[in-house]
Amino acid sequence: MKAKIRKIATFVEETHTEMGRPVSPPTRKAAAVAVIENPFAGRYVEDLTELMEIGEELGGLLAEKAVAALGIEGPAAESYGKAALVGENGELEHAAAILHPRMGTAVRKVLGKGAALIPSSKKRGGPGAVLDIPLGHKDAAYVRSHFDGMEVSLNDAPRAGEIMVALAVTDSGRPLPRVGGLTKHEIKGEDGLR
């Protein structure tokens, strides 16, 4: 592995009831988070190829961890999202190098298909900073019931020279969705949008 990983965390959240109404089956979201050393912390480096390669590695690893935490096969995943939190001695561009060029392809290898753009967010912050990972349907970005987000944080990460890389996967949309729009049963799945 190119990535020097200090720790990996997984989170699984199940919602059983909402406003007193049962959610059956419960909606479930998982996030897998890796805390890695930032090889470029503390200096300006022009060529960010190494972080792009790390993004590819982590895409596969975190996707596997997330679906394993849900106990499902990759293709059973319904929505996804990714995010990175760069420690104080790094640049936002380091997050971009991990997330955008190669990570998505590796994630899709595990999840099968994934025609839609993987929604993403990034920021810089200190230990305990909260990262909100956006979520959207993996085959059709306009599926309204699956627009969501998941918050993750680790009290001891990222340290100044680290990056926290997160991938979220669900096997369901929001609990009790009722604001209309495209439903998952209407997906054509050709253009990643509808």
């Binding site: 720790k7 965390a9 997984t10 989170f11 699984v12 959240e13 919602t15 059983h16 009831t17 009290n155």
Partner: protein, 194 residues
Amino acid sequence: MPEVQVRKRLITVEEIFHEGGQPAEKPLKRGAIVAVIANPFAGRYVEDIAGFMDDLKPLGLAMARDLIAALGGDPAAIEGYGKGAIVGSAGELEHGALWHVPGGYAMREALGGAKAIVPSTKKVGGPGARLDVPVTHINASYVRSHFDAMEVGIPDSPRADEMAVILVMTTGPRIHARVGGLKASEIKGEDGLR
């Protein structure tokens, strides 16, 4: 006594490879399970609450078993434990104390008998409140390498009339434990302390 109503659960697992030193041969795993339940006593003073402890026992046992499963499935691999509760703002600290008996009973039952007292903490807090759950060795409280803690919380919990009940387990010592004291290999295992 009222039925236990679960709104959501969170399972989180950290795998720790190193903390700046040599990566350990076997990564340390720390896991937490949180169940967000309705507080049947919220919003008023109720004198007689103790019966709810029995109602919580099946929930505790299911949580302990699911946490062991998330940490790899082998009860014999669990070396440290702790528990805690966050009571929503319409409840009192005493409601959190209801978790002592069922939480401890559940982990002992699922681990096949553990001798040490289960360390614990509790507080009243709003949604997103974090709790640092203390952790000690399951058979001897004085084992210095196993004194640890895990921070847990859920962004939307507990609501005012809810409480979050928490179990934590670990699979070994702190990753670079080196401050001496009683070792796990020296446990007599008679009194739960040494």
